[in-house]
Structures are given as structure tokens and as C-alpha cells.
């Protein structure tokens, strides 16, 4: 945002401050100016990459704070926006789990500050290297905490993307040949909440029959009706989709169809072989070109396959300046963090052995703050929608 302001000052100095403000204030969100879902995902992935480069809890906390602030500032009231809370809870759970495992299974981290000693389970020789119980050191717990916090931050970044971008819109950006697969995924995604609603409804309905609503038996007994209901609904949706023209195809010459198949299959094989070459010890030389060629062939196959579908797209999300800024801010955070990691790795990884208090390195912290850009440039969800 600050760079944008600078540009504005330079380019149209004559314009009044008010109109500059008008141009650079984020507009109210509507379908027309909706940010491309891919931009949100790139931004979130950028933050996630940054999180994967550090174990400094203060930096991680800052990343979570940045993601959380943007979510709070820009999420709508749509159903998918509520997933953020779930991801935060999942993150906390991961931290807890990581610590519990460290407590129970011990840790290779050498430490001197023994906090307490759990009774150790004697294990036979052949599971050497595995330990259950035993002494618990402060170092090992701190290490587990840092590690868990890193994972949790990654999850929260994904959750932020989920909350900010409509997953269905992201699937809409798939190439035409994959569109129908995308629709299938969208329909499947709307099924999960429906089934959860069914389970709740049937469980409460058990009360009407005078049966307890909780417990494993309740779930087992309503399992069949729930599955039947889901099956019926899927048949109904399939009928509706069919009646609305899902799966209409254009006639394509046989040659084109065959070429499509060859290109797609060949391309995928190439991608497989290429990645194997890259990962295997020898063969890195042919790996990269093979991967590239495979990718090209697959993309060509998909484009050609797109000719079979007659469908068009209604108001696809446009990739505009704001999308560039959002995606760019994420990429910048990732790039700066990677660079900082190369420049001064110890600043990003506070010592565990010996224990030392984590510090907030100034420049990496500043670079994380770049991730706040979307909170200023992305369109603001309208108040009405928030209340709805």
C-alpha cells in the first residue's frame, strides 16, 4: 500500500488528495471486483512457505497474526468463511499433540534441564531407539512447541485461504477439460455439510422415538438412513444436472480425440518419469527436460480436450491489479524469509540447546508485515453481507 501511495504521488501530482484517496481506497466487494481465488491461495501459500522457514515462535505468532488480521478484515459471511476457526482449533490441537508425543516418546534433543521423569516402559531389544516414558527435559518440550507451532502456522495459513477464497471459484478456474471433474468436487463438497445436517437431524429425531440421542449405537442405527438419504440426494442432483445440460459435448473429429488421448497419457507418463529422475540418485540430467516435456504435452492434451466441452464461463474472476498485489505480497513474504534464512539462519531459529529466549529479528519481522497488504487492497466485504 505504501508503495502504491508513492506511485500515486509521483504519477498524478496534480490530482487532489481526495480523488487519490478515492482511487486507492479498497472498494466494497461485489461479484464484479471479486479477487481471483488463486490470488488468495498464492498469498496464503507465500505465508506458509515463510512459516516453514523459521521456528522462532515470535515470528510464527506474527505470521498467524497477519493471517488472522487479514481474515478478520476481509472475510465475508459465506459458509466457507467459517472454516477459519476450525483451522485455528486444528492448529492448536497439532501443537498439543506434538507436545504430548514428545512427552511420551522422548526426543533426541539432548537437554540438561530435567523437568520430571515419567515411568519408562521397558521395551524389548528389537525396538531399539524407541522409548516410552522416561525423563522429560525443558529443551525437548520447547523444541516440540516450536515444531508444533510451525505446523500450526502452516495449517492456519491454509485455513485463511479457505476462509477468504470461495473454493468453488478456484475450481472454476480449472481448464475446460477438467471442469466437469471440478463440478463433481464442488457437489461432493456441498454433500459433506448436508450429511452432517442429516446426522444431526436423525439423531435428534431418535429422541422422538424415546431412544437416547448420544452414543455409538445411535450413530450406528442412523447410519443406514443417512447413507440412503445421501444416495437419494445424489441421484436427485444427478438428474437435475443432467436435465440442465451437464455433460453435453461437441462433436470432435476422431483424429483430434486420439491426439488428445496420446498427448495427455504421454504427458502424464513423462511427468512421472521426469520426477523420478529428479528424485533418484542418478538421472538428474534427463529428469528435468523429461518433466518439462511431460508437462507441456499434458497441458496441450488438456487444451485440446477442452474442445469437446461446449461450456462457457459466466463472469470468471479477473486477475487485476489487486490480485497482483495480494499474490505479490505473499510471494514477497516468502522470498524475503527465504533470503533471510540464507543470510542469517540463526536469527530465525532460536537456540534450544542451550535454551535461550527467542528474539524478534527486526528485518524478518518487517518482511512478514508485508503480508498485511491484502487487508488494505482487497475489496471490503459489504456490511450488509456481514449481517445477513
Amino acid at each position: 500500500m505504501s508503495t502504491a501511495r508513492g506511485v500515486s504521488a509521483a504519477s498524478d501530482r496534480g490530482a487532489s488528495a481526495a480523488s487519490a484517496r478515492n482511487v486507492f481506497t479498497a472498494p466494497e466487494a461485489s461479484r464484479a471486483n471479486a479477487l481471483h481465488a488463486g490470488a488468495w491461495w498464492l498469498w496464503a501459500l507465500g505465508l506458509a512457505v515463510a512459516a516453514s522457514r523459521t521456528t522462532d515462535p515470535l515470528l510464527l505468532g506474527l505470521l498467524v497474526g497477519v493471517a488472522g488480521y487479514v481474515v478478520a478484515a476481509r472475510r465475508t459471511d459465506a459458509p466457507w468463511s467459517r472454516s477459519y476457526g476450525a483451522f485455528v482449533k486444528l492448529g492448536l490441537f497439532v501443537v498439543g499433540l506434538r507436545v504430548v508425543f514428545s512427552l511420551l516418546l522422548g526426543s533426541p534433543i539432548p537437554g540438561e534441564h530435567v523437568l520430571f521423569t515419567l515411568p519408562e516402559v521397558p521395551l524389548p531389544d528389537w525396538v531399539q531407539g524407541v522409548r516410552i516414558g522416561g525423563r522429560v527435559t525443558a529443551e525437548q518440550l520447547v523444541f516440540a512447541l516450536y515444531d508444533g507451532a510451525k505446523l500450526a502456522t502452516l495449517l492456519i495459513c491454509v485455513g485463511a485461504a479457505n476462509a477468504l477464497a470461495n473454493p468453488a471459484r478456484l475450481l472454476k478456474s480449472l481448464p475446460g477439460a477438467l471442469y466437469e471433474a471440478g463440478v463433481a468436487v464442488v457437489v461432493a463438497m456441498t454433500f459433506a455439510p448436508n450429511m452432517v445436517a442429516d446426522v444431526t437431524r436423525l439423531r435428534t429425531a431418535r429422541r422422538l422415538r424415546g431412544r437416547p440421542t448420544g452414543g455409538v449405537r445411535a450413530v450406528l442405527q442412523i447410519g443406514l438412513p443417512v447413507l440412503e438419504g445421501a444416495l437419494e440426494r445424489s441421484v436427485a442432483v444427478a438428474a437435475s444436472m443432467d436435465a440442465r445440460g451437464y455433460g453435453r459435448t461437441a462433436r470432435v473429429p476422431a483424429a483430434v480425440r486420439r491426439t488428445t488421448n496420446v498427448l495427455t497419457l504421454g504427458g502424464l507418463l513423462g511427468v512421472c518419469a521426469g520426477s523420478y529422475g529428479l528424485l533418484a540418485a542418478e538421472g538428474a540430467a534427463y529428469g528435468l527436460p523429461l518433466l518439462g516435456a511431460g508437462l507441456l504435452a499434458a497441458v496441450a492434451g488438456l487444451r485440446l480436450g477442452g474442445r469437446r466441452t461446449v461450456r462457457t464461463r459466466y463472469r470468471p474472476d479477473l486477475w487485476g491489479v489487486r490480485a497482483w498485489l495480494v499474490a505479490g505480497s505473499g510471494a514477497a513474504v516468502a522470498a524475503l524469509m527465504i533470503w533471510a534464512n540464507a543470510y542469517a539462519p540463526e536469527a530465525l531459529h532460536p537456540g534450544v540447546v542451550p535454551l535461550e529466549a527467542p528474539e524478534l529479528p527486526l528485518w524478518p519481522a518487517a518482511s512478514v508485515l508485508v503480508g498485511l497488504v491484502p487487508a488494505f487492497v482487497a475489496p471490503v466485504p459489504s456490511v450488509k453481507e456481514n449481517n445477513a
Partner: protein, 615 residues
């Protein structure tokens, strides 16, 4: 536009055909209404037009269906998608995307229309259906009526020449239904769309139809002709047939213009003895004159307050009869007390008052069966119910009405303990439902949910009955005997899923009644029922009420409320806005008044049955 040539459909090789030798032509630009009892193949006939029958459902179709010259045998549904728009019974099973605007565009995307065209048509359709406000809303957050309009809109955007709708208004409250029907009429008038529509609630749709197609005989003709012979018909037609009006009126307005002689004949008679009222042993506790003996009772006080309130705003019906009842009547009436009771009794009331006074039980006022005081229920930030007060006595039938989402179902759920009150008290037979063991509770209160299937888990009727006996601790065979009574001739090994809508409702009712609960709750019981099934249901429920069961129904069906309910409670936005005897509440608010009441206003006649008995 649509041509059926000797069409028969059978789903199983050796079974009776669902449709037999249908041979007719639906002309372009007509609104054709399909009528007939349940199970005569209305949905099947609609399915043959869109090609879903037999391409999707299986079965064998003989003969030929052509739509605008395209044969449905050679064209699967997706090849007819640009020609036929189909909306099934359940709009939520129709949606493919998750927001309104995307849903409207989906069909056009499949057909490959140019982006500019799509954009323009979405805007037009948003305006046509009044959906512009909702364009960005997720579909999951819409109400029933809104969903139905989105579903219709989503098949309109590809500009189909034929629109096929299966029970588009059954799940809707009266005003939402009118919105949807107004849209259909606009389509027929403005765009020349051919509309084929099946609906059980004829009182809502028959006046919009150009032609009526009566199944199973597959005869098509002008509505008035078909209605004069149809076994299913709306109350206004029944009234017309009763009065011998020629030609038969289809709308309340037509009927009212011819109603003067009937009104004259009915002058001097009163529906008093015919208005549904709690059975004798319960009546004394609830109604005005008796309540006077016990001092102020909030219920009676409020009921009369409501009625006087209604006088100011509604049609003059209650005031007229009240004036006669309390002022101009015999001295006995003056003494009878609260105006609303007198209004209901009218002139014939003296005798029954007298009788009731004699049969009234000892003045010891037993606690009402249902006692709700200052009930509030919140879900998250939404206040589903606010400051609700309600009493129901044994033997009383009460109808809860109000638009979709007003809180009717929430109120019922609170009574069976599925929802815990946020504040206030709920007592059913002295128990707090949410804190009572379900096994104990089912002997006090039974709820038949909106989807009776939710109650049924077993795979045969017999197993279901055995389970119900075990659940309720009743002697084995209790439930089966009830099923036999409510649903004669159903085999033990029938799968509940194979029963018709009405049969399934009866089975669920039997299951619920196994515990002999004194309080019976029904949520939207007439959805998907034809007139015959509805009449059976009404008869059963009247019998139960006469046995002393208290019945509370949440319903949009004003005709059902008029036939059955002693009292009507109107809920809006989680608050009770009217509570009083059926005749008063229903006559004073046009949205909730049955057709007969509209025709014979200002007199409080509610049903054809009452008129018939009085003549």
C-alpha cells in the same frame, strides 16, 4: 408444443403401468395444471417431458413423446436442456453451485452460451423473479420460497420453451406461494412459455391454469369443466358444486359475485355448532365463560385482546357477530361473558353454553397440558423465539401458522425437548421436556416431524412396529393395531420407503401414538398429501382430539387449520402475534383465511362442511 402419442410407462415388467395410453397435445404458451389423486403418475408424466423418464429413472416407455418436434426417446435429458426446464419437488436437490448468481448461470454455461448473453439473461432473470437483492447470497442461507424462485430462475435462463414443475408451492407459506405463481403467470403472459405443473394444493393454482389435465384418465379441458367432474378440487369448487353454481367459479372473486343467494340462505344460521371446538370435557377449562370463574387467565384475556385488536384492522366479521352476540343477543348471552366466546357461539350458542356449564368438570383448575411462559430460544445470534406464552389444554387442537422460518418448528422442537429453551419455562404435563428422559417423555408428547421418514429406521413395517412397542414399553402389538386402524391393509413386510407420502405419515403417526401421549405435535402434516389423504388425516385427528388428545399442528395449510383447529396461533419473527379461536383469527387476516371464509365474508363460515351441514 408437447405431444403425447399413446404413451404408457411401466417401471417393472409385470407391474401395472403407471401411465396408460396417454394421448394428447399441449399447445404452445398454455399453463397446464396436472391434477389427480396421489400415485396416478403425475410426476411420471412430467418426467417424460424432460426425458428423465425413462432415461434416468429406468422403466419402459411405450408410445412417443415429442417436445417441439424432438423425440424424447432419441434425445437424453441433456439434449433437451435448451428446450425443457425442470424443477423437481425438492428445490434443494436441484442446486449444483453455491451462490444464487452462479446457479442462474449454470444451465447457460452447460449450453455454451456467449458470456455477454449469459450476463444479460442473468440480470433479466434476477429482476423477473425479484432476486436482485439475493444475487450474492449463498443458497444455503435462503428461505424456502426464495429457493423455489432461484430453482425456477435457474431453469429459465436458457430460455426453455417448456417449463415443467412438480409441486412448486407445496412447501411454501401462502404468500411465498403467491410470489411463485405470479412469476409463472408472468412467464406465460410475457414470454409465451408453456408451463406444465403438478400441484396438490389446487386452491392456490387452479385459477391460473389455462387447461387442466386430469389423471389417470388423461382428459384435458378448460379448468371449470374438469373441476366439475374432478375427484380432487379446491374448497371454492366444492362450495360451487354444493350451491349448484353454473359455470363453476374457480376463484374466490367469481364465487363471491355469485354468493349473494347462498349468503341469503345462510342468513339466520350460524356455524356455531359446527366450528371445531374442544371436546366437552376439556372445553370448560379453556374458554371464556369458564375462565371467568377462575379469575383472570392470561390465555383468555389475551385471546379477547387479540380479537378486539383484529376488529380494528381486519374485515368486519368478528365485530359483526360479536355485536350480535354480546349486545343484541338474548340476556343469556350478555351474561355469557367474554366477547370472543360469544362471537363464536352466536345465536346457537345459548344451548351449548348451557350444556357445557353442566358438563364442566369440578372447578379445580387442572394445570394445562402445555404451559409455556416467556420462552426464548436463541441459536447463535439469531433469536428464533422471543417472549412466547402459550397454553394448551387436553382435547384442544391448535394450529401454529406463520411464514417459513417464523419459528413454528422451533416451538414444536422445544416441546419435545430437542431444543433447550434459552430462557423462560416450558412444561409438558408438568415436565421440562429437555431435561426429561426420552423414554419417559414419549408417553407425554409425540412429534411427527416434517419428514416422517426421519422417524422410521427399520426395513419393514412389522419391525418398525415391534421397535415402537419396545421403545414405548407398550404391550407387543399395540403399534401394529394402530397401523391397522390408520392404514388398513398394509402388509407386514412392506418397506417404509415404498409407502406413499400419506401412508408414511400414517405409519409415523402410529409409531408416535404407541406411547399414548396426551399431547400430539405435527409439523407440516399435509405436505404432499392429496385431498383424500388429507380428509382421512383430518378425520383421524378429530377422533384423537375427541379422545382427549391435545394436538398442535404447525402448518401453512389454511384449509386444514380451518377444518381442524379450535385455536390458531400466528407466529411471526419468533413472536406470537395472534392467538384466538380459529374463526376469529383466520377471518381477520386474509393471508390465513380459507377460501370459504373469503367467499362468505363477513360471516365466519370456514369450511364447505359447515355450509353443507347448515343448509
Amino acid at each position: 408444443m408437447i405431444r403425447f402419442e399413446n404413451v404408457s410407462v411401466r417401471y417393472e415388467e409385470d407391474a401395472e403401468p403407471t401411465l396408460r395410453n396417454v394421448d394428447l397435445t399441449v399447445p404452445e404458451g398454455e399453463l397446464v395444471l396436472l391434477v389427480g389423486p396421489s400415485g396416478v403418475g403425475k410426476s411420471t408424466l412430467l418426467g417424460t417431458v424432460s426425458g428423465l423418464v425413462p432415461h434416468f429413472t429406468g422403466g419402459t416407455l411405450t408410445g412417443r413423446v415429442t417436445v417441439d418436434g424432438r423425440d424424447t426417446r432419441t434425445h437424453p435429458p441433456r439434449e433437451l436442456a435448451d428446450l425443457v426446464g425442470t424443477v423437481g419437488q425438492d428445490p434443494s436437490a436441484h442446486f449444483v453451485t453455491d451462490t444464487v448468481e452462479d446457479e442462474l448461470a449454470y444451465g447457460m454455461e452447460s449450453l455454451g452460451l456467449a458470456p455477454g448473453v449469459m450476463r444479460r439473461r442473468v440480470e433479466e432473470t434476477l429482476d423477473l423473479l425479484g432476486l436482485a437483492e439475493l444475487r450474492d447470497r449463498p443458497i444455503a442461507t435462503l428461505s424456502g420460497g426464495q429457493r423455489q424462485r432461484v430453482a425456477i430462475g435457474s431453469v429459465l435462463t436458457p430460455h426453455p420453451k417448456v417449463l415443467v414443475l412438480d409441486e412448486p408451492t407445496s412447501a411454501l407459506d401462502p404468500s411465498a406461494a403467491e410470489d411463485v405463481l405470479a412469476v409463472l403467470q408472468r412467464l406465460v403472459h410475457d414470454l409465451g412459455t408453456t408451463v406444465l405443473l403438478a400441484e396438490h394444493r389446487l386452491e392456490r393454482v387452479v385459477q391460473y391454469a389455462d387447461q387442466v389435465l386430469l389423471l389417470p384418465d388423461a382428459v384435458m379441458g378448460p379448468p371449470a369443466d374438469i373441476m366439475s367432474v374432478s375427484p380432487v378440487h379446491p374448497p371454492v369448487v366444492a362450495l360451487g358444486r354444493l350451491a349448484g353454481w353454473e359455470p363453476l367459479p374457480l376463484t374466490v372473486r367469481d364465487a363471491r359475485r355469485r354468493a349473494a343467494p347462498l349468503k341469503a340462505r345462510l342468513e339466520g344460521r350460524d356455524p356455531a355448532g359446527l366450528v371445531p371446538r374442544p371436546s366437552a370435557h376439556a372445553a370448560g377449562r379453556e374458554e371464556g365463560p369458564a375462565s371467568r370463574d377462575r379469575g383472570p387467565v392470561p390465555d383468555a384475556v389475551r385471546a379477547s385482546a387479540v380479537s378486539s385488536d383484529a376488529d380494528g384492522t381486519g374485515p368486519p366479521a368478528p365485530s359483526a357477530s360479536e355485536a350480535r352476540g354480546s349486545g343484541g343477543g338474548s340476556p343469556g348471552h350478555g351474561e355469557a361473558g367474554s366477547p370472543h366466546a360469544a362471537g363464536r357461539e352466536g345465536r346457537g350458542g345459548g344451548l351449548s353454553l348451557f350444556r357445557r356449564r353442566r358438563t364442566r368438570p369440578a372447578p379445580a383448575p387442572a394445570a394445562p397440558l402445555v404451559l409455556i411462559e416467556r420462552l426464548a430460544v436463541r441459536r447463535g445470534r439469531v433469536e428464533a423465539l422471543r417472549r412466547v406464552d402459550l397454553r394448551v389444554s387436553p382435547g384442544e387442537t391448535l394450529a401454529l401458522m406463520g411464514r417459513n422460518g417464523a419459528g413454528k418448528s422451533t416451538l414444536l422442537s422445544t416441546l419435545v425437548g430437542m431444543i433447550e429453551p434459552t430462557s423462560g419455562t416450558v412444561r409438558v404435563a408438568g415436565l421440562a421436556p429437555h431435561a426429561t428422559d426420552p423414554r419417559e417423555l414419549i408417553r407425554q408428547v409425540g412429534l411427527v416431524p416434517q419428514e416422517p421418514r426421519d422417524l422410521l429406521y427399520a426395513d419393514t413395517v412389522a419391525a418398525e412396529c415391534a421397535a415402537a412397542d419396545a421403545d414405548a414399553g407398550a404391550t407387543p402389538g399395540t403399534c401394529r393395531a394402530l397401523v391397522e386402524e390408520l392404514l388398513p391393509g398394509v402388509a407386514d413386510d412392506t418397506h417404509p420407503r415404498d409407502l406413499s407420502e400419506g401412508q408414511r405419515l400414517a405409519l409415523a403417526l402410529a409409531v408416535v401414538l404407541t406411547g399414548r401421549p396426551p399431547l400430539l405435535l405435527l409439523d407440516e402434516p399435509t405436505r404432499g398429501l392429496d385431498y383424500a389423504a388429507k380428509a382421512r388425516l383430518v378425520a383421524r385427528l378429530r377422533g384423537l382430539a375427541a379422545d382427549g388428545h391435545a394436538i398442535v399442528l404447525a402448518t401453512h395449510d389454511v384449509e386444514l387449520a380451518a377444518e381442524l383447529a379450535h385455536r390458531v396461533v400466528i407466529v411471526a419473527d419468533g413472536e406470537v402475534v395472534a392467538d384466538g379461536p380459529t374463526a376469529e383469527v383466520v377471518v381477520s387476516s386474509p393471508a390465513f383465511s380459507p377460501q370459504v371464509a373469503k367467499v362468505l365474508a363477513p360471516r365466519p363460515w370456514l369450511t364447505v362442511e359447515q355450509v353443507e351441514a347448515a343448509l
